[in-house]
Symmetry: C2
Subunit: 196 residues, 2 copies
């Protein structure tokens, strides 16, 4: 069991066919998730390509998320979290927190992605839009988007199967200025486990 520390990121290499169980340990923690082709970091899981491939905006069990070259990279094979995830919003970044009024550095998912990959000795070529596991952004009346607390419960999880050798990166979202990680606005750790 590998910890994604509260407010921080963690990455891991995953072989094709391996499954990755992502556990929402405390229940209302958003986990920004990225996947890169291990052989070519210029190919990565892409939300704007995946929405076309799966025909809806929220991935469900059985859906294969695809890369910017439209090849399956991760399939959602299990979900006990209530099935609410987000593909619409960018990862938080320094500019997000500056706009919210932060005058000092605030941890953010974008920096966490780059730091987590840096720990593996690699760097992405860009910051793709993440798969925001457990994040609750309903589309109301086909247009309006709202930020709501996750519906996931403590210990619930999703399992993703790698469809190619890849590098996965996770960030336990440090957002504590809007209730995206629960009304208490207290970001927590999460965990993941690699399964053969």
């Amino acid at each position: 069991m590998i910890e994604i520390p509260a407010r921080k990121g963690k990455a891991a290499r995953v072989r094709r066919g391996q499954r990755v169980k992502v556990i929402n340990s405390k229940g209302q923690q958003v986990v920004d998730t990225w996947a890169f082709n291990a052989e070519d970091l210029g190919e990565f899981m892409s939300m704007e390509h995946s929405r076309i491939a799966i025909g809806h905006i929220i991935p469900a069990v059985g859906d294969a998320l695809v890369t910017n070259r439209r090849r399956p990279i991760l399939t959602l094979v299990e979900d006990t979290s209530g099935g609410i995830h987000d593909t619409l919003f960018a990862a938080c970044d320094r500019w997000r927190y500056e706009l919210l009024g932060c005058t000092e550095y605030h941890d953010n998912c974008t920096d966490n992605l780059w730091a987590a990959l840096g720990e593996l000795g690699v760097a992405p070529q860009e910051t793709p839009a993440p798969l925001n596991l457990f994040m609750n952004i309903p589309v109301i009346d086909g247009n309006r988007v709202e930020i709501r607390p996750p519906v996931s419960t403590p210990g619930s999880h999703v399992t993703l199967r790698a469809e190619m050798d890849c590098i996965l990166a996770f960030s336990a979202c440090p957002q504590d200025m809007v209730p995206i990680n629960g009304l208490a606005m207290r970001p927590t750790e999460a965990q993941f486990e690699l399964l053969d």
Copy 2:
């Protein structure tokens, strides 16, 4: 008046404060649209950041689309097209047409972006998700997405105001295998005009 040839792209430099009128000459032609900071092509209009900024998925008059650094770059100031545009789908690319069964090269918006910028002597660092003007991708029941013909009429237009010096790129989408450019599936030209 500058033509965006059928199935092809066209780019232009635009100064802060200038307006760009994008005209759907024949009425049902999708125009993929990108905007890059003229001083730094690593900063560009981002759909995943803009959805957060504007609070809905379809830009409306008055909305400022923002960059991946969350700064306004284009404001939608006028729209006679029926107000239906898309921010959810990636630009078409060679892989999209291969999946649809193409065995030979098919014009595509991604290559059109790179070629159009190439004509100006610049290259982007990545292919951002485009603002798909006039493209009709409804989100049904908060989740399902469908490909539908545009609702725009011949000669209708949108006007965008540049909020920074930028390079705009347009592609008259060459998609002729699904009815995204109308049920006739015959891509046409479009036009744009720079206004001071």
